[in-house]
């Protein structure tokens, strides 16, 4: 370092130093920022390319090649875009801005690089597991337990690094960007750890500690707040640093910063249940989720206002500066998304939008518009500073902006259209009271033109990303032979400094908050308290109030074979397209059957309620079709359901079930409290499973199906599907037969006996 040239960070001049104090000089660590920036671009390309592929698979099902089908690739897309692209963008911005806002080099270079390489390794391990069906089956938390542990370790390292930097800072007060970073670090740690509590069932397999309703609740507490504290608060922090820097204008309102920060941090935590409206979640939780989401509207818009009004007096610059264009559009998309979010959380709206592409449109206006544009605006602003040269081409950056904007619009408008169309088709009745579109596939084929258009939009956005990669690469190539050290200057904090003007003015002048800002530990603790207390208000009642889950006596644990089939369902990612939750609407009970009850899911580790119906709901699929139908359907869906876009799963007919694993699954479930009886424990599960498999295989053969399926995966999957949602049909008498044997295999005969109800 000492041999290289030294430049003083031009931005560092603003630091207010009391006269006479000793100026300290230090070198910013921009090398790790450069590494994170490069990773951001690389993972943007990978994540969005996978996005394009899966969008194409929906439009052209022939592109589902073997095991690289939609169900397995979609988690790769979501994980890559959220945790790889957005994650690295966050770290780029946090490492760059925190050092400058705190007037200190990062706490430890070693931790910085451990963070960088650890995070990339996690992403690579995601790419090496998800396509192979190694998944926990919980959306956006699919990574298996060893990776979960690695995430926790790397995240704690990040926390130590940032909090350590805060500790050794030379800036007495914490700026609003840092507040948002703190909330991100604390909340993500809490969310990740508590949602990922799971019991290993092998080196790369685990089952959620929670079951059914509680698992769903935890998952969406996590899922919603991953949006909040991974895709929102850190990006607000980035906005608060990079936007005023790029515009060279003061932030519009300090008071607004304070109010919208605290209200956002506290209120966000409650809103998760809006992902579970009209499900088996208790109504009180659903209503709480809705009203807190409505209250989130203004706290979110506080950020948008502070962003956009910061540009007052600088709008002329926007015409000329692609960086500001990205920021303005990004913040505008943030405003749109955060209006739409509360709107979608209103139950009546949600009853239409849920499970449709409306959600997909909403997510992408946020992810592409807000996260994407803030990230790229930031990268373009950083490039000349990080690579110590001029940006290769402003024109290309402009072109990227316009490609991106048109791309987003061509993505979201068709998806909004598709969402509303499908939602309305699902609930349409004809004049005789029958479903207007009884064939689910009709509501899918109708969307095809929209799916084609989405590919166009996605391609444009992706083309913009490639332009950015080229532009940044060219900029990097023009870097100096040796980077000059970027030196900051600031006086050390005077330990003798006293709070002689501790609280200025009354409550509404926020002098008290000024005190919090200089007591960093207090600030961190208060943020943690806001996050944790808000969570506990909902989590505790969900777990403790018994009436949330009225028990249903006839609901029994899955048989060993069914359990093995359930694992195939999870591994193939069926939950990415199929829900298992019939909502209490006539349009759903007519289509699928009786609405789902909370007590039906008590043995579901993890829950599989799903969030999108690209295919129909499956909660009542048990007994709906002959087992032979499932064989034919899995082998080649379109031959059974014309125009079906479901991928074929022919290998399920030829691959041998992992029989030794049958026992392992049962044992882990028993450990989790599922009441399995002696007849399936201690190594007996496999034999029990074989009996059920034989019966199913014989039924299939008798119906004219293929022979020799007995040991194959398809039989386990069929066993699971035929069991789904049938337990509540069990008559109390029928139950008595199995009573002494709580875990006895539900044989094919029993399933059939149970299923007819009163049809004929």
């Amino acid at each position: 370092m000492s041999n290289s040239a030294v430049v003083t960070d031009p931005a560092a001049t603003g630091s207010s130093s009391p006269p006479g104090s000793r100026l300290e000089r230090f070198v910013y660590d921009d090398a790790v920022v450069r590494a994170f920036a490069a990773a951001t671009v690389v993972w943007a390309i990978v994540g969005m390319l996978v996005g394009l592929i899966i969008a194409s698979q929906l439009a052209f099902p022939v592109l589902n090649v073997g095991f690289l089908h939609f169900g397995r690739l979609r988690p790769l897309h979501t994980n890559a875009v959220i945790f790889a692209f957005a994650g690295n963008a966050i770290f780029t911005g946090v490492y760059y801005s925190s050092q400058r806002l705190l007037k200190a080099r990062m706490f430890s270079d070693k931790i910085s690089w451990f963070h960088f390489w650890g995070w990339q390794a996690i992403i690579v391990s995601a790419a090496l597991t998800l396509p192979f069906g190694i998944t926990t089956g919980k959306e956006y938390a699919e990574l298996e337990w060893p990776i979960d542990i690695a995430i926790a370790v790397v995240w704690v390292a990040f926390a130590i690094n940032l909090f350590g930097t805060i500790y050794k800072r030379r800036e007495r007060h914490l700026y609003v960007a840092i507040w948002f970073y703190i909330s991100c670090i604390i909340a993500v740690a809490v969310l990740h750890i508590f949602n990922s509590l799971e019991v290993p069932a092998g080196p790369l397999k685990s089952y959620s500690l929670y079951a059914g309703l509680q698992d769903a609740f935890m998952q969406w507490w996590y899922g919603h707040n991953a949006v909040a504290f991974f895709l929102t608060t850190p990006f607000l922090g980035l906005m608060y640093y990079f936007m005023p820097k790029a515009a060279d204008r003061p932030v519009f309102s300090y008071k607004l910063s304070i109010l919208h920060f605290w209200s956002l941090v506290f209120i966000y935590m409650w809103a998760g249940p809006h992902h579970l409206h009209y499900t088996a979640l208790p109504e009180w939780a659903s209503t709480l989720g809705m009203v807190f989401s409505v209250m989130l509207w203004m706290p979110s818009w506080g950020g948008m206002i502070n962003g956009l009004l910061t540009l007052r007096g600088a709008w002329n610059k926007v015409t000329d500066d692609p960086v500001l264009k990205f920021f303005v559009a990004g913040v505008t998309f943030y405003g749109m998304s955060t209006f739409e979010g509360p709107m979608l959380s209103i139950k009546a709206v949600n009853s239409l939008s849920h499970y449709t592409d409306w959600t997909i449109a909403h997510v992408h206006s946020g992810a592409l518009g807000w996260n994407g544009f803030i990230s790229f605006g930031m990268l373009y602003w950083l490039a000349p500073r990080l690579f110590q040269t001029k940006l290769h081409s402003k024109k290309l950056a402009e072109l990227h902006f316009w490609l991106g904007t048109v791309g987003i619009l061509l993505y979201i408008i068709p998806m909004y259209t598709a969402g509303v169309t499908q939602g309305l088709m699902w609930r349409a009745f004809d004049e005789t009271g029958r479903l207007q579109y009884p064939d689910f596939v009709e509501t899918v084929t109708k969307l095809m033109p929209m799916y084609y258009l989405r590919i166009v939009g996605g391609t444009l956005f992706f083309a913009g990303v490639l332009l950015a990669a080229y532009n940044l690469l060219k900029t990097w190539q023009a870097r100096p032979a040796v980077y000059a050290d970027v030196v900051g200057e600031a006086p050390a904090l005077d330990p003798a400094w006293t709070d002689d003007h501790a609280v200025e003015g009354g409550f509404f002048s926020y002098g008290w908050h000024r005190v919090w800002e200089r007591k960093s530990l207090l600030f961190i603790v208060l943020t943690a308290l806001a996050i944790i207390s808000a969570s506990l208000f909902e989590i505790l009642p969900t777990f403790l109030i018994k009436s949330n889950i009225p028990t249903i006596a006839s609901v029994k644990p899955y048989s060993p074979l069914e359990l093995a089939g359930r694992q195939i369902y999870i591994a193939e990612g069926c939950y990415n397209c199929h829900s298992q939750m019939v909502r209490p609407f006539r349009a759903e009970t007519e289509r699928y059957g009786e609405y789902s009850k909370p007590g039906e899911f008590v043995y579901d580790h993890p829950f599989q309620w799903g969030s999108r119906r690209i295919g129909p709901d499956l909660h009542r699929v048990g007994g709906k079709y002959p087992s032979l139908w499932h064989v034919r359907h899995m082998e080649a869906p379109a031959t059974v359901t014309k125009d079906s876009i479901m991928p074929p799963f022919p290998w399920l007919l030829t691959d041998e079930l992992d029989w030794p694993y049958v026992q392992k699954n049962v044992d882990v479930m028993a450990m989790l409290g599922v009441p399995y009886g002696e007849n399936v424990l201690e190594g007996k599960a496999e034999a029990v499973a074989h009996i059920q498999a034989k019966e199913i295989a014989e039924t299939i053969e008798k119906d004219g199906g293929p022979k020799g399926l007995e040991g194959k995966k398809i039989i386990a999957l069929i066993a699971y599907l035929q069991r789904l949602g049938t337990d509540i049909q069990q008559k109390p008498e029928a139950k008595a037969a199995v009573k002494g044997v709580p875990a006895g295999p539900v044989t094919q005969a029993e399933t059939h006996a149970a299923a007819p109800g009163g049809a004929l």
Binding site: V251, S253, M295, A759
Partner: protein, 230 residues
């Protein structure tokens, strides 16, 4: 440029400054409004319990539909009533089209049987009498994966489909082996698999009054609807 009366705070973070602007009035007002709404909404529905919950809403929706669509429920037809229209060429042709679209997937293009049984022999699992065939198509056979087509097809269409299926009898297309009980031609079962329904009442199709007579409750009440689905 900023207003003259805007005050810049002395904060300076890496060159970033902040104004001491008050909260925008509309922002504060809307925030309060959402808080009041939240309290009111939660109180109305969850504390006072005045609003309907989702299950009450559902029950009401079902009751309303039961009344509104009562006249379109599947009637219970006797053998002779089915026979009355089953021989009509136009009806059979219409039924053939429906069969091709809906039934062929499981029963084969010619009714020779695939996933479901062969319909071209004279063996019947659920009875081959005209009234029984009509009923089996309408209500489905939950345990075998035969859908309750009354949820999808209008009564006329089920009539047409029944006519077509009855016309297949004894055409003996090579396909799946016969399943069920062989019945003598023309509704004289050799061995009735179940007590013949033999409905006494002659329900006039498309009149609500006739519906309660339908023994297996083909009315789209939720319970029956589910049963039919599963």
């Amino acid at each position: 440029m900023a207003d003259k009366d805007e005050r810049l705070l002395e904060h300076n973070y890496d060159g970033i400054q902040e104004y001491d602007n008050p909260l925008p009035g509309w922002w504060t007002a809307l925030f309060w409004l959402t808080i009041v709404f939240a309290g009111g909404y939660y109180g109305y529905y969850q504390i006072l319990g005045m609003g309907e919950n989702r299950y009450q809403e559902y029950e009401n929706e079902i009751k309303e539909a039961d009344v509104k669509y009562a006249q379109f429920k599947l009637p219970d037809l006797s053998d002779s009533e089915v026979k009355a229209f089953a021989g009509d060429k136009a009806t059979i042709d219409k039924g053939a089209a429906i069969f091709k679209e809906r039934c062929a997937v499981c029963h084969g293009d010619k009714g020779e049987g695939k996933i479901g049984p062969n319909l071209t022999d004279n063996a019947w699992i659920h009875g081959g009498k005209p009234g029984q065939v009509f009923k089996t198509i309408g209500n489905g056979v939950g345990s075998k994966g035969m859908p309750a087509w009354r949820l999808t097809l209008k009564t006329d269409e089920i009539k047409a489909a029944s006519s077509f299926v009855l016309s297949l009898r004894n055409t003996n297309v090579a396909g799946k082996a016969p399943q069920g009980v062989v019945e003598a031609d023309e509704a004289a079962p050799v061995a009735a698999p179940a007590p013949a329904p033999a409905p006494v009442a002659v329900p006039a199709p498309a009149t609500p009054a006739a519906d309660p007579a339908a023994a297996p409750a083909p009315a789209p009440t939720p319970a029956a609807a589910e049963a039919g689905k599963i």
